[in-house]
């Protein structure tokens, strides 16, 4: 087994919410997806110069 800086080879911690039961790592991935999506649509995009239409 190649060495990793963080050893994830231990049983996962679980998040319980009502009847949802999800591993902490999966919750992190889902939260990251939402954050990344929010960033993608909210963050300013560089390069405001535009060519004018030629017609």
């Amino acid at each position: 087994m190649s060495a990793a800086i963080f050893n994830l080879n231990h049983p996962s911690n679980t998040v319980h919410w009502h009847f949802f039961s999800m591993s902490v790592s999966n919750v992190i991935v889902i939260v990251l997806m939402v954050i990344v999506f929010a960033f993608a649509i909210l963050a300013p995009f560089p390069g405001r110069s535009r060519k004018e239409p030629t017609e």
Binding site: M1, V29, V36, F37, A40
Partner: protein
């Protein structure tokens, strides 16, 4: 030369292909000015993840399916392969969310949406065949569990998750070909139709469609 009354196939296919995808559409050097959002990079990020997925998969196949269990380098490339999968689905889902909220199927782009969603749905069994090809405990568990759903649907009769030989060949050849074919169709359709324009926010939609130029030349 073939018979005089027959329509030439090659010329017809060439004209249709070049008409749909002229060089300036295939390899454009400009893009609509409304594309000013980071949401637009998630398609190419998904594509990049897929490229790495395939490249790392090819390296894993060089030394056979059990190489990664006994070799540090093999395990390294297995990790590259696994994290490429995670990023592929991550970026693809953010891309899907963005395209949904842009209603990117508008303006005759339904096939772009369809090829995209079918790619997502075909990638799932492709990943499944990978998970059951690991030759470790994870593959033992996943194959013995998931077989019940496939058996209930009748698919298990000819697609046996516990049959390593069968699953491995689906994983390294048949399903990646399907995914790549679908992605190619998706990308070419995007190039053909262009990126969907923004919603018109005036309350009165146009009564007649905007006139299309005689020679379709959207690029300056």
């Amino acid at each position: 030369m073939s018979g005089t009354a027959k329509r030439p196939w090659t010329g017809a296919v060439r004209e249709r292909a070049v008409g749909a995808l002229p060089p300036e559409k295939l390899l454009p050097d400009s893009q609509p000015a409304y594309m000013a959002s980071w949401i637009y990079i998630f398609g190419v990020l998904s594509l990049a993840s897929l490229v790495l997925l395939i490249a790392s998969g090819m390296i894993l196949s060089l030394q056979g399916p059990d190489w990664w269990h006994s070799s540090g380098i093999g395990h390294f490339f297995n990790s590259i392969h696994l994290w490429s999968v995670e990023l592929f689905f991550f970026f693809m889902i953010v891309h899907l969310w963005g395209k949904y909220w842009m209603a990117a199927w508008r303006g005759g782009r339904a096939r772009v949406w369809i090829t995209g969603t079918v790619t997502f749905l075909v990638a799932i069994p492709c990943a499944l065949t990978g998970y059951v090809s690991q030759q470790n405990f994870d593959s033992q568990w996943i194959s013995t569990q998931a077989k019940d759903a496939l058996n209930a649907a009748g698919i298990g009769s000819f697609w046996n998750l516990m049959n390593f030989g069968q699953m491995y060949t689906y994983h390294v050849l048949l399903l990646p070909l399907a995914v790549v074919g679908l992605v190619a169709a998706h990308v070419l359709l995007v190039r053909k139709h262009g990126i969907v324009p923004p919603f018109q926010i005036s309350d009165e939609p146009p009564a007649t469609p905007a006139p299309r130029p005689a020679t379709a030349e959207p690029m300056p």
